[in-house]
Amino acid sequence: MRPILLSGHERSLTQIRFNRDGDLLFSVAKDKIVCAWWSANGERLGTYNGHQGAVWTVDVSPNTVLLATGSADNTVRLWNIKTGECVKVWDFPTAVKRVAFSPDGSQLLAVTEKRMGFLGTIAVLDINYGDGQLGGLDQQADEPALRITCNDSKATVAGWSFLAKYIIAGHEDGSVSQYDPKSGEQLANVQVHEFDHQINDIQFSPDRTYFLTASKDKSAKLLSARDLNILKTYPSDTPLNSASITPKKEYVILGGGQAAMDVTTTSARQGKFEARFYHKVFEDEIGRVRGHFGPLNTIDVHPAGTAYASGGEDGYVRIHHFDKSYFDFMYEVEREQMRK
């Protein structure tokens, strides 16, 4: 496969997201710009300009009408995807590290940083889609519908489970917790990763009944959203920044690499800047894709499972459209089952 290299950012990537149809890819980096790309040919559709600081996170509404971004300038911004206009700015006391739309797009959660005497919080905002003709998108509620405060350890990432029944959050101390999105009550908290090893990413399966965490403790874990049981563990030899579940084939893709501050002291090969493919069920590593010159900060898979993109510390986004060999690979057991 021939990757498409996107060099629209001047600083390291922080998050990339495909929209639900997979035709658009959104990327954010530490350089204040939000980019939208056509995933098929790597053409840049446009940029969303307005942030005053590093942009940490991006998410796209399920209907590809609104784009939410969270930034180190303490704001969450809502953009009209088609025109590139900013339709709403929410101010927070601290930086916003993660935003995520609920499965139906009616709510948006924002994870805020713990800093300057403020505790880390998860805010839930109601989203209004206007009249359906892209009018009235700027009429959004000013105040969050709910605020969850994390007293023990700040949340670093969060997402919505199936039917928006729970909010699942990953914490700085390596634990995962489950919140009720109506009351904000913490329903469960499980120490799934090694203590004090931050969870860097959390991504859900297409039906959102299970999810994958990527942690600094060099492992990724597959957890059930309902009871936070650990279903699978994928060990690796490097701190992980991102992990994604592939639809269509039963794989997971993990990305990471030596922490950015140690990179200059190691060669590219030792740095382990590769995307690692594991079989989701058998937990075996089945291959690697190299290409980045720095750690992989973020990975996202095309919702149809035909491509994946990775964003690195080197400022590049690489879109890989999978070859036939990727789809043909099967374990002997899988082949036998196919025959039956």
Binding site: L5, D23, S325
Partner: protein
Amino acid sequence: MSRLGNRADWADDEEFDDPSALPAQQVITNKDGTKTVISYRFNDDNKKVKVTRRIKTTVVRENVNPQVAERRSWAKFGNEKGHAAGPSFDTTSVGENIIFRPSINWKAQAKEAEKDGGEKGSMKDQLKDKKVKCRICSGEHFTARCPFKDTMAPVEEPSTGGMDAGEADAGGLGAGKSSYVPPHLRNGGAAGGEKMGGSRFEKDDLATLRVTNVSELAEEQELRDLFERFGRVTRVFLARDRETQRAKGFAFISYADRSDAVRACEKLDGFGYRHLILRVEFAKRST
């Protein structure tokens, strides 16, 4: 002198009148459906550069849902506002091809590949555990010292396949590894001695026909069917254009038996095949 006198100096040819003028872009349609676009531009050093591009257009039809189709018509915005459609060179490029083949024992394979890479360096290491083996009796001595040298011919290795024009360069590179193989070791080390004995090459050559004036639309299988009437054909080689895949107009047919080849040569020389009259003769040995 006088002839040059009334003409402008050759140095002020039209081309140099206006250095900023560039020849117009040329578009040539090739017969295989591709297009050649020749354009001129100035590079950073202000030198004129001719750019020749060959473009092959393929139409890929894809069904998408209406929302996706509607999005395709969106105008660019932000920093891209007003830019032309299509990826721009400063933001989008294509990387090197990556071979990604998932496998169960991925780790073992990767380790092996690494080991291969490390060993490549010295020829001595590669030959370290190679044993001297006689090609005649497989004993542990050089072929030249073999006691059966005068009585037996060398044992053919199945991979050394004659002088196939198509395979000639592939065979020359040894076993596919990237490391250099000296000429005397190519083709499994058998080539040198074999030529001296002159057994197989010449025999093969004697039963090979050169067929010319073959139609452009000819197929290897058709030729085989045509020539197989006279005896067992061991090899059919139809020269094709590398890009268009059309026949170039000549072919080589090898027979197992020379007498069959003689008969085929007689019967098929002047035979009408696909609107052209074939010319069949014995191939001359290329030296």
